[in-house]
């Protein structure tokens, strides 16, 4: 890498790091603890439920729903994770089991 390229790369990482940190810190700066508006407290209470649902869908953004395999590996594995979790309520087991199951599905079943 040339010197210019290294400097530019450092700047890319720095810009991305600073903006990420700002987005994470901004709400805490804007709404200081003792005078947080009621509507923000309301959002704070109910957003977690909505956001986790949002993240699950976000993880499916690259799945192919309209062509083979019609997101079947993802949907089957998600159902498996949910069932394992309802059965044992052990997060580590659900995550590890579900991931291995999904890998088997995409490597051997839906090739």
């Amino acid at each position: 890498m040339s010197r210019e390229q290294i400097i530019h790369s450092v700047l890319i990482v720095a810009v991305s790091a600073v903006i990420t940190a700002l987005l994470r810190g901004l709400p805490f700066v804007i709404f200081s603890a003792n005078k947080t508006p009621k509507f923000v407290l309301f959002l704070g209470k109910y957003l977690p439920f909505a956001v986790i649902g949002m993240l699950v869908v976000y993880c499916l953004k690259d799945a192919s729903f309209t062509a083979m395999p019609f997101a079947l590996p993802e949907l089957i594995a998600i159902a498996a994770v949910a069932l394992i979790h309802l059965w044992k309520r052990n997060t580590l087991l659900s995550v590890a089991g579900g991931t291995v199951f999904y890998m088997l599905l995409v490597q051997f079943v839906f090739k």
């Binding site: 990420t20 309301f42 977690p48």
Partner: protein
């Protein structure tokens, strides 16, 4: 008490350990392939500490993207983090100096572990959250660096390994579903995001989804608040 808090935080962080080491390797390998070595993997996971954004940054670095492009891309990919901060304002309000790191380290995965505000009753709440956040970042740095070192040399079909994160979010979703009296917020989250994904496509759906989720939550605010008793001290009796 401190020892028990450390232990509880460690146990809580274990599922993310598995996911982060795996995902970190998934970042370290392509980073090495575009010519950025160990020091870059370490510096990026230390300062950016962002799963999806670091994946995107590999492309930005490889293509020598402009700083404006970098800034806009980061804003679009990371805007969802505003929600995490908003959810944690009340929970972290008395965290003191720890708040700085708690805010910085609020990744998707850390948020998913801590957003319910539960903690073992014997633990110091903020120390507990701080340690879970810190352990998570350690796993992430470890994974990114290891991936950068060995990922290219180990013959192993890792296809599908990225599902670890989906699986983690699904378990959190199930936990929340079981514990919540109101399922409307969870349904709003899934449905609005799915509809926005179809309408706006996978590159642009996150910000519209955030807007729709916010509007819909306010639309059902009366319904949610009328059926919920005043908040009590949240203590997790399972741990």
């Amino acid at each position: 008490m401190k020892k028990k808090t450390v232990r509880a935080a460690f146990i809580k962080s274990l599922p993310v350990c598995a996911g982060y080491v795996v995902l970190g390797i998934g970042f370290g390998v392509p980073l090495a392939k575009v010519g950025y070595g160990l020091l870059w993997a370490f510096a990026m996971s230390l300062t950016m500490y962002a799963g999806s954004m670091q994946y995107v940054a590999v492309n930005l670095l490889a293509g020598g993207a402009s700083l404006i492009t970098t800034a806009i891309t980061t804003l679009l990919v990371q805007a969802r983090h505003l929600f995490y901060g908003i959810s944690m304002i009340d929970k972290y309000k008395d965290a003191g100096w720890k708040k700085l790191y708690l805010a910085f380290s609020l990744t998707d995965e850390t948020y998913s572990l801590l957003c319910d505000g539960k903690y073992p009753e014997y633990a110091d709440k903020h120390l507990y959250c701080f340690l879970v956040s810190l352990f998570n970042q350690c796993y992430w740095i470890f994974g990114c660096v290891i991936g950068n070192i060995i990922g290219t040399n180990v013959p192993f079909n890792s296809k599908g390994i990225e599902f670890a994160m989906t699986a983690l979010f699904v378990t959190v979703f199930v936990e929340q579903w079981k514990s919540a009296k109101q399922h409307l917020p969870a349904i709003i989250g899934v449905a609005s995001t799915a509809v926005c994904l179809v309408i706006f496509g996978k590159e642009n759906f996150l910000i519209p989804s955030m807007a729709v989720v916010t509007v819909l939550l306010f639309a059902v605010r009366k319904k949610l608040e009328s059926s919920e008793p005043p908040a009590q001290t949240e203590v997790d009796e399972n741990e």
